[in-house]
Amino acid sequence: MEKYVELQESIISGKKDKVGELTQRFLDDGRPAKEILDEGLIPGMAVVGRKFQEGEYFIPEMLLSARALNVGLDLLKPLLEASDVKPVAKVLVGTVKGDIHDIGKNLVSIMLRGGGFEVIDAGVDVSPDTFVQMAKESSVDIVGLSALLTTTMPSMQETVEAFKSDGSRDKIKIMIGGAPVTTEYAEKIGADGYAQNASLAIEMARNLAGV
């Protein structure tokens, strides 16, 4: 693990060029991609997550680190795929039909990517059918639904129902969030979880993904 300290620190300080350089050097030295990921990139990002939770980092710092992480991941990805190493989980996120607010959804995406999840962003005003279609096409593990208005929360229920009608509900987990949303509402519509904010969303996603 010690040989990866500089790589971890480069992730923590968001130095993407350095991360690229070091990752490539480790690969050239014959280190396994999985080892570079598990002992260099992920521990570095874990520190970033901790610093954010403890109020030492803001989202801008986290974004810099996430971009640095992506530089490393891009180099490792072909090798990881070849050895069948998968991301933590694949998450489809979107703002439900009728709603055009997306900053909360975007924040969740940032946090999830920083946590090693692969995120597919469906955008805003996403119909239930589109959620179902995109979830199937990308074989996602989790679907995250966002709504900011009381008048669009029913679209969350419709989306859950659409997954049931499609027969794919049992294959995915559904988490919901947004200012007017509650745990009780999640339970009422048959979602698997509710997260009050973006920071808690990543914990929820980890729980749902079983990691």
């Binding site: 801008p60 009728g98 055009i100 924040l107 009381t150 008048t151 029913p154």
Partner: protein
């Protein structure tokens, strides 16, 4: 027109309930003429807005407006503004928004006849243009639909036309999360003012055609988003405060295109607007905690003409339904202010409203009458929207720095680091050209330059 001077000679002249240019509207209501009135807003409980639900929606509004007016009448309120703030579908499906407007106005007229309650109806149309990404700000069906909704609102009984417009938001959202100053200058200094000129020119034409009032806009999508993100620890508080000051410029454009107030309740840049234009403003604070948290619950009242609850769902509380509950809360807030004026104690109340919040947070500091006045001075000293935006931001930095140096405001080290960086970058990116050069590589895919006349 371009404002090049302030309406007030000092921040101390600005007071709640009094505007340089009082505004007559609705049923014999005069704003800014000595009294502060409640502005009550509410929203549906969890339900969809569509044709199938039309009857249920109208029944909800009948109940909400009816109970609010009844409570206001029982409490012998001298006047009030009712805001009908559209959910996106109420703008998109014209008839639903039109029907709610007509129903609301009818109830208000009935109340005026029965109880003599003076009211005005504000229709806040939803900026549905952002439904498309990148949004078409000037062309396309959604733009036309939005303007039709303004006109229909006016025809159906709205007295005041408003919007929380979003031009530039598509860039601002990301720039905020990246704390990217060139991006923020692109959004707030270039795109947003350009959109405001286009948008409010059109809204003013509609208002003139239909003989209603073009009231004003709000930087909610920019500055309140920033405030909430900062409050949750996602971005620095100082960044949000500086964005608040910068966003006042785009909101002022509505007035330069012909709006006459009252500015929107969630526009915490209202005191800046009032300092420059002398028109009445609406504000929200502690009694809007039902909708969102803030750091300026008291200080926001100091120079306001309308006092709002922002929005509350129609849910049952112990005393009654939430809209009527908040109508009562606002009423007592306004009574206190109005009684202070009647007793000649307005300066005492004003001072306490300010002092109780001013240095508790950077958000409160930046909306204080003194800070707002300084920001307003910086704005009118410049001619271009871009330079105004930059100078408003730099002035905010100076205000915050001074408060820290005088040990009045405490900021964490990392906030100080950001403050210095923000000031350095606002100084560095001193022209539209330098901003475009720095920001376009990262942000050009988020907006359509032709939709901003670029």
């Amino acid at each position: 027109m371009v404002y090049d001077s302030l309406a007030y000679n000092s921040s101390g002249e600005m007071l709640f309930g009094k505007a340089i240019h009082p505004l007559s509207c609705g049923s014999d209501l005069v704003l800014g003429d000595g009294l502060v009135f409640p502005e009550v807003n509410f929203t549906l409980p969890i339900m969809q807005v569509n044709e199938d639900n039309r009857a249920k929606i109208l029944k909800q509004y009948e109940d909400m407006v009816g109970t609010v007016l009844n409570r206001l009448a029982i409490l012998q309120v001298p006047g009030a503004v009712i805001e009908f703030e559209h959910a996106p579908q109420m703008t998109e499906y014209l008839d639903i928004g039109g029907d709610i407007t007509a129903l609301t106005k009818q109830l208000m007229d009935d109340c005026y006849q029965k109880h003599g309650l003076k009211t005005a109806l504000r229709a806040t149309i939803c900026d549905i243009r952002e439904k498309e990404r990148p949004p078409k700000m000037r062309t396309g069906e959604l733009v036309q639909r939005m303007f039709e909704s303004f006109r229909l609102g006016a025809v159906k009984g709205a007295d005041l036309l408003s919007i929380e417009s979003t031009g530039g938001k598509e860039v601002n959202d990301r720039a905020l999360m990246e704390a990217n100053l060139p991006g923020l200058l692109l959004s707030l200094g270039i795109l947003a003012p350009r959109d405001m000129h286009f948008l409010w020119n059109e809204i003013n034409k509609i208002a003139a055609d239909e003989n209603v009032i073009a009231a004003g806009d709000s930087a909610c999508a920019f500055a309140n988003t920033a405030m909430i993100l900062a409050d949750q620890g996602y971005i620095p508080n100082v960044l949000a405060a500086v964005v608040r000051a910068m966003s006042a410029v785009r909101s002022l454009v509505a007035f330069e295109e012909g709006a006459v107030g009252p500015s929107k309740d969630c526009a915490y840049e209202g005191p800046v607007i009032k300092a420059i234009t002398g028109y009445p403003i609406s504000m929200e604070g502690k009694s809007a905690a039902c909708a969102h948290f803030s750091h300026m619950g008291n200080i926001a009242m100091a120079v306001t003409d309308l006092w709002s609850n922002e929005s509350v769902q129609n849910v049952k509380l112990l005393s009654g339904f939430a809209p009527e509950v908040f109508a009562e809360v606002l009423t007592y807030d306004c009574r206190l202010m109005n009684e202070a004026v009647a007793e000649g104690d307005e300066d005492i109340i004003r001072k306490l409203l300010i002092k109780s919040d001013e240095y508790k947070s950077v958000h409160a500091l930046i909306v204080s009458p003194d800070s707002s006045y300084q920001i307003a001075q910086a704005i009118v000293a410049e001619k271009s929207d871009f330079e105004r935006t930059r100078q408003a931001g730099l002035t905010a930095c100076s205000i915050i720095e001074a408060a820290v140096q005088e040990n009045k405001l405490t900021l964490r080290d990392r906030e100080i680091t950001y403050l210095n960086r923000i000031e350095d970058e606002l100084t560095k990116y001193s022209s539209e050209e330098t901003v475009l050069e720095a920001a376009l590589p990262d942000y050009k895919d988020l907006f359509l330059s032709s939709e901003y006349g670029l």
